[in-house]
Amino acid sequence: MSRLSDLRRGATATVRAVEGVRSFRRRLLEMGLVPGTQVKVVNFAPLGDPLFIEVRGARWSLRKQEAAEILIAPDAPAAAGVP
């Protein structure tokens, strides 16, 4: 299964599960990153990290390492990789 950290800029995906320690997982879930939610990688910070993602119309920042805790199903390749 892919991870959010694998996505390229502009790619969208659907959340499958959130891993990681309890407080981190809960926080992300409570913000609405529940399985089935659409997530988009909008950009990367100037130094390549953290990521800048869009979930439910809100914009969030999280580090690559943390994005690796989010398991996703990438949307159709046609949509992924579009800049």
């Binding site: 409570e30 910070a45 999280l62």
Partner: protein
Amino acid sequence: MSPPDAPSSPPAIAADSPASAAGAAVAPLGAPLVALVGNPNVGKTTLFNALTGSFAKVSNYPGITVERRSGVHRAGGRALEILDVPGTYSLVARSAEEQLAIDSIVGLGGQPRPELVVLCVDATQLSRSLYLLLQCQELGARCMVALTMVEEAGASAPDPKKLSAILGCPVVATDARRGRGAEVLGQAMVDALQAPSAPVWRWTPSPSLQESMQKVRAKLPEGWPQNDGMALWALSSVDDEHELAHIPEALRREVSACKLDQALDDEPVLGRWRFLDDQVSRATVGQPDRSRTERIDRVLLHRGLGFAAFLGVMFVIFMSLFAWSEPAIGAVEAIFELAKDGARGVLGQGVFADFITDGVIAGVGAVLVFLPQILLLFLFLGFLEDCGYLARVAYLMDRIMRTMNLHGRAFVPMLSGFACAVPAVMATRTMERRRDRILTMMVVPLMTCSARLPVYTLVIAALIPASHTVQGLLMVGMYAFSVVTSLIAALVLSRVMRPLRAKRLPFFIELPPYRFPRMRGVLLMMWQRSSMFLREAGTVILVCSMALWALLYFPRHLPKSAPDYDAMIAVAPEAERPALENAKASALLLGSYGGRLGHAIEPAIEPLGFDWKIGVGLIGAFAAREVFVSTMGIVYSVGGEADETDTGLRQALRDERTAEGKPAYPPLVGLSLMIFFALACQCMSTLAVVKRETGGYRWPAFLFAYMTGLAWVVTFVVYQGGRLLGF
């Protein structure tokens, strides 16, 4: 029904008592308490300001240093006490600060239980904002919803009637940004107070979760709501590493014994979201227009342009801070000179007159003279925060912060450190773990706080002969220096100090949409924070100024070897009198307790380029950095009382000569002085607040020792190196 829930008789409105006059911040006795709750960035505080007419009573939550803001709203002849609960995304808590939300909603930890909870719900972020409502409803709180950002949501704004039917509570649309809707909301609050309150669940817990909730419910302490919502809160919040307050050990043990697996742990969150996703979408049409935020982010978060814009913003802020505040500072200085002259005219000569003019008035002036810069800085910070850029700063800077083992959230306290280390140290409470808080506290005092500004301003203006541009650049350089040293200090401390080592922490922060700042809110916050500076720093400064004046004034004995100045002055020609009076004042100062102390430490600071007068200033500055300036002011007004030219402290420093007649403070000494002040921990208030936050003397003692040691070594290298290079 328990007494707090019983419908109280209509509160007596003491319309004639001064406390309840329009605009008062103190609620009349018996006014129902209404808690405003919501996510960060939803316009909750703006709504609070609109409801209470900006007359907030600002105090601290007991035990922790987070602002508690309450005020009074009048609707239909009734007074309501409004409480602005700190913004949060969830009631589940891991730290004492996050616990404030639950404490304020159900009335724990000494907080009164509100009779109504108003959820401030961002109309553009409906589901996420309403997640909090579901938690409140499970706890049995009497709830209603105030929709904010309705105009921003535009056509996608939800229909309040539909939403109300779905949520089972009143929903009112407001437009807090324009101040409209406060009356409508006020009336709705009064109406909502009549509604019954009972727990509402939008999802059904599984049998095994119910079993755990039942067990935990039996261990809930007295005074807590004895319901499933509270039990679920405990199950979700308490664990073996929690940092919550007032959790009985029996409850912790019971939660620990339940050993929820991941599926059970996630169940409430997923259950609530299932309801929100299924139901709430029915009340909305389409998505709010975010194209403006997207366009701005494309520039401000761009790889190259983003960093350039960031540097530009910071440069503009600090340049203008340096240049724009100058006329205001001059005005304050002039006013206090006039006040001193006036007081002297009334009081004449003598110990009391000296105390009032040189001790009290000069001390107050030394505090107020820096208000312009503090106001400006808080204006900029409030502006950046309000328009949404401050969160982007954390995003842009995280990669760097992390390298130094600092949490991304540490950026905000460190940025606050530019204003004052005291609130910045308090702001470290937004971090979950103690290790992150302490590490941040240990480096925040290295940031260029506003108390250093007076020292830098004085030193740069008096001792660095250069154009305004170069002087401004030097100021920017001092800021950059403080950022670099604090980051390096964080890296070194987190490697060297065992209690400060730690794993990485999540950095999941919201980047709110760009919004036009609400100037009223920004100005209000600016005023509240500035008055906090005056109250908390100003009083310390004033007391220290007066104590130091006494230290430098008494015992007022001339040494036996000294000539009889008074007799000489009496017979001297007019032109020679000032010099004689100067000499007499110097002799008195030399003999004062402060002068002796300054002499005593001179051997330790001589290698840094400082003489004993600076030594006296440094002694004073250990009370608070800016006291250095008022100390030097007293040092020189004592020495220069008869100075006819009256050119002020800057000229006095420039004119100071060594025994050989050379300038006592060449530019190199100015630089040394600034570096010493950048690094040394000369702030009693910072140490006091660190002691309070860490709960012991260990960390403040360490902070003081490492910063002062660092300051001495670096200043030594700079001064001696500069001399070797011929400066």
